[in-house]
């Protein structure tokens, strides 16, 4: 059985990113930095209508704009569009301004159709249909166990509440996009993607090319969060433009585009009923939930079913439960996977309800969790958190904080049931006689530190320094690896590198005749290789990685009861991480996850306009994110559990945050704000200071 070393120099310690200097100095080349010969700008024309029958798109005038080299249609000259921002056509030209002028010159003839953008409106039977052949909303399917109704009547305490979460946008710092060059030899795409292989396959399919004729490169990337898998419309359009223009095309989406058509986290409207025995043991649970994943797909029969479901009752094993969920289709861009799909809204809903129940029963929120949480690790995490956070000193009865600015504390838990390694991860290493070594893996580094993880694991096992390990990822010419989603990259590549290193050492020892080629013997051993380098191939092996991951978080907030402004004072995350590979990049993941969760709790919301059907806040002035000045002190306790192997942690970090903050706000002001984001107006409405319908 393979085993991770117990005494380590790099694994579980902190190593700076191997590409940190390149990124900080601008030497790192992202998809939008590729300056292929005679490259052109590409831009997309999008639908101005939330729903319309497009009868004609005339590109002639656009092609006459000076500098414009190509114009292509997205789906042909006549089509039905179902949301504001759906792609119609694209142009390529020598300057951004030429492209902008060309987009304005394209003539589109359209017959606007009725549309609906709000979930509650779309559910009505007389609502305009998003898909002609199916209703927007199908009767929810129920999952039931136990005797729910009779169980509630036996409960000592029951609460009912409605908890809702908004549409959250991914908004990676690097927008979606590609630089694509189509020549006789084939297509090369420098893509901002979480899955180079899926882009290659998708692009080859769309362009009717052999997969071996398509090469995808992602040397550096500025985030994906689930929204960047496969060859998107913008990718295929860039390739078509490149073919038509006979020149490479760089087509990066704008921040505006990012708000419309490249994914989001579905909304949720959770009606929850929760009941417990006198000692706080949960006995009965009922939830009706609906949300929207945008237009979904036609194959869903309307409704975008499945895309908006959340796990329930999530963290708890409740003997009697009934869960009804349905998705509702609206005229808006489709949802995509988004950092721990389904989990942050699930955590927010159940953890809010549980706190409401605890308050009603006069129980401490931590106490009721310890009583009901079936996971031993998470109970341990609560115990650690209570100590570290000073919960017992800080927790007061809800609303009892004195003064105008009230403080409060809250906690919440989370889980992530994926994060295991992918069997199909391959990689290779080339060892040269001068002692240099290069690892090549067909995975991609989203910015999480994948390259650094490879260097750390290899350095540990070969007893070299991480900077001696040359790491190349993000190229479909390398042995293939999985897409980076579900927090699986780290547990996929670490065992793969382990396998490569084991095989490399065996070969090196055999060739050199040295019993140990590691560390100080490395160069001596390599010298004996001769002219031909050693190339070893490795694959993911079992026993070095696992899942799932849990985590709990605590938050302390200050709420100004005159203005409604919520300030997060402190956050604490306690997460189990399996074997920690690199502490520094792990801490970055937790920080980032918690800040993203804070945005979900307090600021972020895609606002649709039901008058015009457009996204009203398609920029960072109006789509609010936590700024650096909003970010509080973040503390974390990371449980290193080498015996469990490597576990992905990118997603668990963002799951409990919103629930913890929402519970802290409720604890501060004594009433529940049950809808995210918790804006000043909602706080004031909850306090009865302004009418509820104004929020």
């Amino acid at each position: 059985m393979p085993k991770w070393p117990t005494e380590t120099k790099y694994i579980s310690h902190s190593t700076q990113r191997v590409d940190g200097a390149a990124k900080a100095t601008g030497r790192a080349r992202y998809s939008s930095d590729i300056q292929a010969n005679n490259w052109l700008y590409g831009m997309i024309l999008r639908s101005k209508w939330p729903a319309a029958k497009i009868t004609n798109i005339n590109l002639e005038k656009a092609l006459k704009i000076p500098g414009i080299k190509a114009a292509v249609l997205a789906r042909g000259p006549s089509l039905t569009v179902r949301y504001y921002g759906e792609e119609l056509a694209a142009v390529a030209g020598t300057s951004k301004q030429a492209c902008l002028d060309a987009l304005k010159a394209i003539e589109v003839t359209a017959e606007p159709l009725p549309f609906v953008v709000r979930e509650e409106d779309a559910k009505k039977s007389d609502a305009p249909r998003v898909w002609q052949n199916g209703s927007n909303y199908n009767e929810p399917k129920a999952k039931e166990k136990g005797e729910v109704d009779s169980a509630f009547s036996k409960c000592a305490s029951v609460i009912e509440g409605s908890y809702s979460t908004p549409i959250q946008l991914h908004h990676s710092m690097e927008t979606h996009g590609n630089t694509i060059s189509w020549t006789d030899e084939g297509v090369t795409a420098w893509s901002s993607t979480q899955g180079i292989s899926s882009v290659r396959d998708g692009l080859a399919g769309a362009l009717k090319l052999e997969r071996s004729k398509v090469r995808v490169i992602t040397e550096f990337m500025g985030g994906g969060f689930g929204g960047k898998f496969g060859a998107g419309v913008e990718c295929v359009l860039a390739a078509k433009l490149s073919k038509e223009a006979g020149a490479p095309v760089r087509l990066m989406l704008t921040r505006f585009d990012e708000s419309l058509a490249v994914g989001n986290r579905p909304s949720s409207f959770q009606k929850i009923k929760l009941g417990a025995a006198p000692d706080g043991t949960l006995l009965a649970f009922e939830m009706e939930n609906y949300g929207t994943a945008g237009i979904g797909a036609e194959s869903d029969g309307g409704g975008g079913r499945g895309g908006a479901d959340i796990p329930a009752p999530y963290l708890y094993k409740i003997p009697n439960s009934r869960v009804k969920q349905a998705a509702v289709a609206v005229n808006a861009g489709s949802a995509r996977a988004f950092r721990a799909p389904g989990n942050p809204p699930a955590s927010f809903g159940i953890e809010s309800a549980l706190d409401d129940l605890a308050v009603k029963m006069g129980m401490d929120p931590v106490e009721i969790r310890l009583k009901n949480d079936p996971v031993e690790i998470r109970r341990r995490e609560y115990a650690i958190g209570v100590e570290k956070f000073g919960w017992k000193e800080k927790y007061r009865k809800p609303g009892s904080s004195p003064g105008v600015v009230k403080t409060g504390v809250g906690c919440a838990g989370g889980a992530w049931g994926w994060g295991a390694g992918a069997r199909e991860t391959h990689g290779e290493a080339q060892i040269n006689s001068d002692g240099s070594i290069e690892f090549r893996l067909g995975v991609q580094d989203l910015g999480t530190g994948t390259k650094t993880v490879i260097a750390v694991v290899a350095a540990e096992l070969l007893r070299l320094k991480p900077e001696q390990i040359n790491v190349k990822v993000g190229d479909t010419r390398f042995p293939p690896g999985p897409g980076s989603g579900g927090s699986t990259t780290c547990p996929s590549i670490s065992p793969t590198v382990y396998d490569i290193c084991t095989k490399a050492l065996a070969q090196l020892q055999e060739k050199s005749g040295l019993p140990d080629a590691r560390g100080k013997h490395w160069f001596a051993a390599c010298k004996k290789i001769g002219i031909n380098p050693i190339v070893v191939h490795g694959q993911w092996i079992e026993g070095l990685s696992s899942f799932p991951a849990y985590g709990v978080q605590f938050a302390e907030v200050a709420v100004d009861t005159e203005t409604g402004l919520v300030t997060v004072v402190k956050m604490l995350g306690v997460h189990d991480c399996g074997l920690i590979v690199n502490k520094l990049t792990l801490e970055s993941q937790i920080n980032g996850g918690m800040i993203m969760g804070m945005g979900y709790a307090l600021y972020e919301e895609r606002v649709m306009d039901d008058l015009s059907g457009v996204v009203l806040n398609p920029n960072f002035e109006t789509y609010k994110l936590p700024g650096i000045a909003d970010v509080p002190e973040i503390e974390m306790v990371l449980l290193n559990m080498p015996e469990r192997g490597v576990i992905g942690i990118g997603e668990p970090a963002t799951v409990p945050t919103a629930g913890a903050i929402a519970n802290a706000v409720a604890n501060a002001i004594g009433v529940r704000v049950s809808s995210l984001p918790i804006t000043p107006a909602k706080v004031l409405a909850a306090l009865g200071k302004i009418p509820a319908h104004t929020t």
């Binding site: 005159e562 203005t563 402004l565 306009d609 008058l611 015009s612 009203l616 000043p680 107006a681 104004t694």
Partner: protein
């Protein structure tokens, strides 16, 4: 944006002449360049007014303060006398945007910026201010709008939501830029007195007034009120 000509003015008179009918005054450019990029404004001539004499001073006199239109927000933030005498104003300045923006943003530009209305700023919505027929902000998604109950009518905004929470007609559905400047000035100065400025609780006072608008950082409004309340626009052209 559309192509434009560029000139620097060294006197108020030449600035007025240069700007003529389809020009725009350029100081910090934070608002103007955004409007131009979105094709919401397409001036043929940009007149750089940063070289106009005498407009970048912060001066105290017997009755109060004069803050020139070309004084940057950062200058207010860093002025030791302001820090001492008008801590509320400094706090408001500090709350605006980011350091990079404060370094170039001027007080005049802050006051004269166009509506922060989401409908007006949206490229695909033709609202009343863009020669359309409807003011969507009145009936639509106005929860986040930067309007303030007591101050609507002074800021260039199309909607007033009063405390009853119903969208009601604001006094300025037409293009505010056509209003004579003195009226705007007097309008604002009625509301925020010098006394208010000196109170530590100013921020809270103003946030209460704007709280139903969900603006989690109404800093720009703070600066607006505070600056105007001190009769800050003393001289020279500031709007486009």
């Amino acid at each position: 944006m559309k192509a434009f000509q560029y000139a620097t003015a060294y006197s108020t008179e030449s600035a007025c002449q240069l700007v003529r009918d389809n020009g725009a005054y350029l100081a910090g450019g934070n608002d103007l360049l955004g409007l131009m990029k979105e094709y919401l404004a397409s001036p043929g001539m940009l007149v750089n007014i940063k070289a106009l004499p005498g407009l970048n001073k912060i001066e105290q006199h017997a009755k109060g303060w004069n803050i020139g239109a070309l004084v940057t927000i950062a200058a207010i933030e860093h002025d030791p006398h302001i820090t001492k005498a008008l801590p509320g104003l400094r706090e408001a300045a500090l709350g605006i945007a980011s350091a990079q923006i404060r370094n170039v943003a001027t007080v005049g530009g802050n006051l004269a910026q166009h509506s922060r209305c989401w409908y007006f700023r949206h490229r695909d919505i033709r609202c009343l201010k863009k020669h359309g027929e409807t003011c969507y902000a009145r009936i639509g998604e106005n929860r986040y709008h930067s309007t303030m109950g007591i101050l609507v009518g002074t800021h260039d905004t199309s909607l007033q939501r009063n405390r009853s929470g119903r969208g009601t007609a604001g006094p300025c559905p037409t293009d505010e830029a056509h209003r004579p400047l003195p009226e705007r000035r007097s309008c604002v100065s009625r509301y925020a007195s010098a006394r208010t400025l000196q109170k530590r609780s100013l921020r809270r006072f103003l946030q209460v007034e704007s709280s139903h608008l969900l603006c989690h950082r109404p800093a720009k409004l703070l600066a607006y009120v505070q600056a105007v309340s001190r009769y800050l626009i003393c001289q020279g052209p500031v709007c486009y």
